[in-house]
Symmetry: D2
């Protein structure tokens, strides 16, 4: 049995832990061989491989990033892409493929499975926005990094009278902002799921300034005000069409200064949240995902994605897994509002 492994999409702490678990159990328990594909779907598309054995995965457990590299290449959108992948897999003698990635990567996995490729998916999204699993690895690490940053802002906010804004990742969903804000005691949390009322934000800020503490706001990069409330700077998309990191945090700081006459400062964590060594939670989750994925291969249980339900690792259909985004429910957001102001 020869198994291919690839990692697609954005960086995420825990990818190496998952790869290591797949290979260690595959080789030592099942006696499989492995083929590493480089740079996400570009690997099988172009037949770009790398040796993947027990030696290759030694010492990678605590390391961020992925030894396989990643990319956002989508073979579905490439003329004849699916056929080329099937040909390359056949040529390399690859019997099954483990695809570790987010919504896009798993969507491709689903399509390939539909075309007869033996695929097992492992979910990965720092944003925690996949519906079929309680958590994905990388999220806990991102939240802890954000929390430590906001912990540090707190002492400055206490000593001075300055509003401090921390912009965290989350273009479409606010899970990171919600957890960072709850864990670190933010005075306001702003998430994409609920357009914010800038008047209400200013009110919280003003009331906080009346105590001896200064306000701290945690904001998702994808959060935005109720339509028409704030004049947003345009040109905040970069040359690649992505929303600019750092946009909303700084604009919020400007607005607060203008309206309150108090200084406001923004910190933008950006990619700091996606890199570096994973937390214990993410390492254990990624390891257990990897073990379950190679078990699925052994069972011939293809077209599935591994997932966390409570404390169990289960398998769900790739169809179900990629159906819809898991947004923050408004009642979860409401829990955090108790601590606002």
């Amino acid at each position: 049995m020869r198994v291919g492994v690839l990692t697609g999409g954005g960086d995420c702490p825990g990818l190496n832990a998952a790869i290591r678990a797949v290979v260690r159990k595959g080789v030592q328990v099942f006696g499989y061989e492995f083929v590493g594909f480089r740079a996400g779907w570009r690997g099988p598309l172009e037949g770009d491989t790398v040796a993947l054995d027990v030696q290759a995965v030694r010492g990678i457990l605590p390391r961020g990033g992925t030894i396989l590299g990643s990319s956002r290449t989508n073979p579905i959108k490439v003329e004849g892409g699916v056929e080329r992948i099937k040909d390359n897999l056949a040529g390399l003698g690859v019997d099954a493929l483990i695809a570790i990635g987010g919504e896009d990567t798993l969507g491709v996995a689903r399509e390939l499975h539909g075309s007869g490729v033996n695929v097992v998916g492992v979910p990965k999204t720092i944003d925690n926005d996949l519906n079929a699993t309680d958590y994905t690895f990388g999220f806990d690490t991102a939240v802890n990094i954000g929390m430590e940053a906001v912990d540090r802002l707190h002492t400055t906010a206490e000593s001075h009278h300055r509003a401090l804004i921390c912009e965290v990742m989350g273009r479409h969903v606010g899970w990171i902002a919600l957890h960072v804000g709850m864990a670190a005691g933010a005075n306001v949390i702003l998430i994409p799921e609920r357009p914010f009322d800038i008047d209400k934000v200013i009110e919280y800020v003003e009331s906080r300034f009346k105590t001896r503490y200064a306000p701290i706001i945690v904001v998702s990069e994808g959060a935005h005000p109720i339509d028409g409330q704030m004049e947003l700077r345009t040109g905040e998309r970069d040359a690649f069409g992505h929303v600019r990191l750092g946009g909303i945090g700084q604009q919020l700081a400007d607005e607060i200064e203008k309206r309150t006459g108090k200084e406001a400062r923004a910190a933008v964590l950006g990619h700091i949240q996606r890199g570096g060594t994973p937390t214990a939670f993410d390492r254990v989750l990624a390891t257990r995902f990897g073990l379950q994925a190679i078990d699925a291969v052994r069972d011939g249980d293809y077209g599935k994605m591994v997932a966390l339900k409570g404390t169990d690792i289960i398998r769900v259909g790739l169809d179900e897994a990629t159906k819809e985004l898991k947004a923050v429910p408004l009642e979860r957001y409401a829990e955090s509002e108790v601590f606002f102001g």
Copy 2:
């Protein structure tokens, strides 16, 4: 409505986060008053109270320990203890009591509820050994501290040829050792649930020494060899009848040196794992437990303990909650054995 709050048993990161959530929601949303009881059950037993309002809980979210103090006082074992507590609660006008603690504390809570006291329990055990909840706060912090320690041992083990042992908390269950060992890539994990075969341990150690890496063993303080295999030093209990922290780790180091002729060193984390700032996971869990506990009071839903199931905070009967210890299932332990040697 006047609500009493106490924290009992051993120290645990997240206690302050739970207290803060109870008080913030109780005061700001429900308009309740609070009475803090000092030092666990000794507080209501002796009527020893401390002011507990929004000001008192400011800034405590990131802090380890408990602003209320703790103790292992068991009022059930005190002559007339239950009656004294009921009298003191009545005298102080306390309508309901939130007891935050482990098995012992919650056992007392169950008894008191049986005697007509309005009690809600919040589970707390660093060992993660309560059956009715997926996780308890404090556990994730303890695991991360252990993981960081073992991460550091790895580089020394790589540079030298020395067996390194890390003894972690866990007198009766091995959850901390299992998660630390999986997260940090231990070569052997030893837990109380399964007496270890010292010959097998030596075999792993010897085979590891043959690579350029040296072996790292994570061992629960409560782990022990198969009966008769090792001559254990006696006198490892202290004046208080507790098993001595540091016992098994050092004895294992001695045995490895004797049998392999290679140096072995033990690090003993001890109380380092129970103190200090909680991780994001523990802060969010403790906060959500606190919010749910005060909701239970508002609902008059007494005799319950709050618990985590998947991503939901639910309530379970105190009876059910304290029934039996949650040990590490052998199939979970077997998962980790893939990485041994």
Copy 3:
């Protein structure tokens, strides 16, 4: 003997450690009394005091911020300010004043000493830009925070092909950027002392992209290109006339994208670097500064600032201490250039 203590200027980890040392030794060894002044020079100017005894400094050693609060109030610029301070000190029976702060705070201390006030200075600047001392506390903490952030960026840079920029503090001097960049292995470091050549920066970036790694740039907030090389966005000053945090990092990212056609992302650490618990280096340094400051008071050795020379804590004249900014010498910067590209 009654001694006043104040902290002025920006936040800086270690302020509390210094206050604690002053008070502990002053009370326990010399039997002095203390008066805490609130909010920097505003405290003695307005007679705004706070109790400062052994109980008040308990537990503050590991905490960021300052229990005394701070401000940028300059009494020299206030009509009759110096006289008001002298009157208030006399009225409160304060015999000597310990002023903990940066260039501005110590400049006021020097003036007051000239007017006959018994002042001892303790240097504090996160930027490490005071000439009379090898290091100031807060700097080591800021550098470690920056280093950890860049460590995290490295793994993302390795997995993807994206230029990553980390903007750190340092409006006038580049010490933080230099040390963060050297400690974390930046591919380019840009500091205010040496206007950068954007063509050279692009060259480094391009050459790095040719390896399998992506470039990481550490840039001081006050760094700027050689005149005329880049069209800098205006309006980067806020309502208070301060240069906007986040300005140069984002502009550099834009320029790199435009010129190389590769994605670039900026993280802006901002105030995260000034808050939170100090490192061991900063806690020991601040403690030793505090001990030396109260020794100077005991010796009646006023008009002095405590300073670090090698491993010794010495005293220098406040005159000398505030004479000129300690910039990064170009030969120190050149050391780091070995690692560029």
Copy 4:
């Protein structure tokens, strides 16, 4: 020019940073070739080499341990050892040797230099006990790890009434204990340089128990009571003649329990302090040491060791460097006594 590099003695965070700096500057600026020797002096003794070029040192800056491995092999004690080294160096065409290590390693370097080998030394001792340099890398990391551990003990000590002991490294000198204790606010610090009075220690412990806080003691592994005061357990040496890690901490805990009737617990950090990623201070120091060492080679300035004086990296004679141990001066210890009890 072909330069050999080796690392000897115990593990120490920063070794890789020093190796990287030597190689990067040597190759990129001076055009040298390098030969890595494996496992300390065993490498040149047995001609055991490893490739050492720019590729080999990529990514090692943040990593603990040493890519070259280490050992305690002393070629002086090996029959004909010096001659064999000279022959091997000649055979490999090695013109100069950079030896990174502690007292033993540098002592060998001095002897070899006396025999005509071109040697430059780089000091490395986690214990900070070399007289000729203000600091050595590894020390700051060890102190920070110890400080974080004691920070965590503090919250437990506050919540309960239990004496907590933290045993840190330092067989002959107490620098680590002194700095950990000052940085983390220990109530007692015990170092090898001054035999402790157990009656005085018990007095501090008792007086601390009278407050609402519990005592925390930081003790060097090499600290010991005044002769005859405590009956020390024998057999605390291991099979290799080393003093057992964990000895004095646990014995102190036993003594405190016996004398005070209060519980006491010991944590033993052991090797955790020598491993893992270095702090910024250690990375910058190790890097600057490496740069200076290769400059010394370029200058043909052999028989020297690089050293830190204030903020400068200088060169001193290997003779001077290895003359005597740098113990903690009693006046530095006295500084810390202000905070005892």
